[in-house]
Symmetry: C2
Subunit: 340 residues, 2 copies
DNA sequence: AGAGTCTTCCAAAGCGCTTTGGCCTTTTTG
DNA sequence: CAAAAAGGCCAAAGCGCTTTGGAAGACTCT
């Protein structure tokens, strides 16, 4: 059942039927009702391919997925996706993932824009002066950055959490508890979130005249194993920290294991605070010692990003508004006063 | 730059240019070369929307993503996606995720098929007599099932791993080591993979005249917490098992924690084998006691599914071939002879 | 009553590609 | 050497929708 048939059946022109269906004003209300009714009754659904060709609108949002044999998709992605999908569903939006060579995403961005494959895109895990952000900005497709980039001469729309504030608070708490030697086990420090977190820790330390030792900050891919290794290194050297801030719950698993392997205890010998993105399958309160966390649901962020993308597509949102969400500091058993 | 312009520029008809580009035979090789050359030089890319409208082909594969406030996307999904994306990238395929109400996916399947939004779909986490499989089969869109359904009067194409064999082997090993009371901490037993795994364990036990106790098998969502709870329950009751087979590494984290909380040890008091889907961020050899596993890379499965989908789209693969991959049994420190 | 204004609808022109049916040359064939 | 076949190309008809530029009729206004 296509427009032509439907129009014929109603003894109307395609024009009128199309307009009636799409809510244009220049059609009699009674006619509109007739059309709507017939459309529903016959289960008429406009062919999206045709509509796309005519309008350029796709009803899809895009994400360029970096891939490659040695590229691992972040497990956080799936949670973000839960939120995004949940919103998208209620608005009949689909998400198209365009896999790209991790080292050449530009080609793919250009392709999906040139081909009008999606109405908007989002970008995640941005770095300072991220080329993708600059690119989509010049390409002129609506977009939202999940996280923040920095150092552009233009503004853009983003949804981020207050990483600096979160880690500032976490460090401040540890300092208040008497800790003097903190360590930070961070994610990839080419990404903005990691930079902000480090800044937060440094700022808190500086306030008390302390510093983050050169060897007390590490930047690694956030795996359990890397959490373990980093912790071993930190605790086995002289000048070992008495408190650790850690950028992910997954790494925290490794931290806990390392501490145990060294026959030390949390929080007796070392206090631990980790960032919690809220995974349904791994919860900080269920660690052997309940973990203090800076908490922010990445899933909610996904829903929010979808919402904003939808708003931008429909023209409801404009401009370069960035929003920064506060992060909860949740204190549990893994922190205590500094030993000694 | 569109076909018309390109054709004009070459002083050829659109027909010829189109044919030259798409490899049709009825065009002079020299002409073809000229066309190809000009197309490349001017960066001509056929507009996919137009092509879709004309051919019905989209160059996209689809996945219906169950969503909802209380629906969690399986963390395995992201690894599967890595593999899928990796293959898709090299073949210029995009993946479209269509979020659907978890309780009504049929509507969405019908929509994406009716609208010709994708060339093929895949289905994951199937259950016996899965309605989605029956649906896409009748809808007539090419598809691959990742995993297996059962109990249809038709055949279909799937890629699965030998879950039954894997858990049969695991259980057999434990039995050989003298264990008599095994327990199985399984995933949702409405899904086929869980059923097969249980069957594998039961079969191994039966061979030695043993059985799987009523209370020694649990079926839960695969989270750390559920692994913990299940283990506590198993070990605190009378008739506690001396060996546990566990369906996921994430649950195994909980198992290990529970065993420790009870001041028991692995493998001294209880042996443990878990299934490992091969996550980059959590590896069985890095557990406090290196974990024995049944191992199968879900990522490779993703790549394979993509490959088969591409083959079906292009007509290279037909029929209802199902393939079952063997699973490696990797023995590490977490298994030992039965205590006592 | 004639001019201007809405209101309501339509015919037809795209959107950019593929594909059908056919036309002209050139080559092969009996 | 005429007839048949093959090679190489083209014009034009879709694919199903949106949108432009009217047009017919109803209504208001002077």
């Amino acid at each position: 059942m296509n427009l032509k048939q439907l129009a014929h059946m109603l003894a109307l022109s395609q024009t009128t039927v199309s307009r009636a269906l799409n809510g244009y004003p220049e059609v009699n209300e009674e006619t509109r009702r007739r059309v709507m009714d017939a459309a529903k009754r016959h289960g008429y659904r406009p062919n999206p391919s045709a509509r796309r060709l005519a309008t350029g609108k796709t009803g899809m949002i895009g994400y360029v997925l970096p891939t490659g044999a040695s590229v691992d998709i972040d497990p956080h992605f799936v949670e973000f996706l839960s939120g995004l999908g949940d919103y998208a569903r209620s608005h009949e939006l689909d998400l198209v993932l365009s896999p790209a060579d991790a080292d050449d995403q530009e080609t793919t961005y250009r392709r999906i824009v040139a081909n009008r494959q999606v109405d908007a895109v989002y970008i995640s895990s941005p770095r300072p002066a991220d080329r993708r952000v600059a690119l989509v900005n010049t390409l002129g497709i609506p977009f939202i950055v999940h996280g923040r980039s920095e150092g552009f001469d233009f503004d853009y729309a983003f949804t981020d959490i207050d990483n600096e504030g979160a880690f500032h608070e976490a460090a401040r708490l540890l300092i208040q508890l008497g800790h003097r030697r903190l360590a930070l086990i961070n994610g990839d420090d080419r990404e903005t979130f990691a930079i902000h977190r480090e800044r937060g820790v440094r700022r808190a330390l500086a306030t008390s005249g302390l510093t983050l030792g050169e060897r007390h900050v590490c930047s690694v891919v956030m795996t359990e194993e890397n959490g373990y290794r980093a912790t071993r290194r930190l605790l086995e050297e002289g000048d070992a920290p008495t408190a650790i801030a850690c950028s992910s719950l997954i790494m925290a698993l490794g931290v806990v294991r390392a501490v145990r392997d060294l026959s030390l205890s949390i929080p007796g010998d070392v206090s631990l605070i980790a960032h919690d993105d809220v995974f349904p399958w791994l919860r900080p309160e269920n660690f052997s010692v309940p973990l203090s966390t800076t908490r922010s649901s990445i899933r909610l962020a996904g829903a929010r990003v979808a919402e904003r993308l939808a708003a931008r597509i429909s023209g409801l949102e404009e401009g370069a508004r960035g929003e920064v969400w506060p992060v909860d500091l949740v204190v549990r058993g893994s922190v205590a006063g500094a030993p000694g």
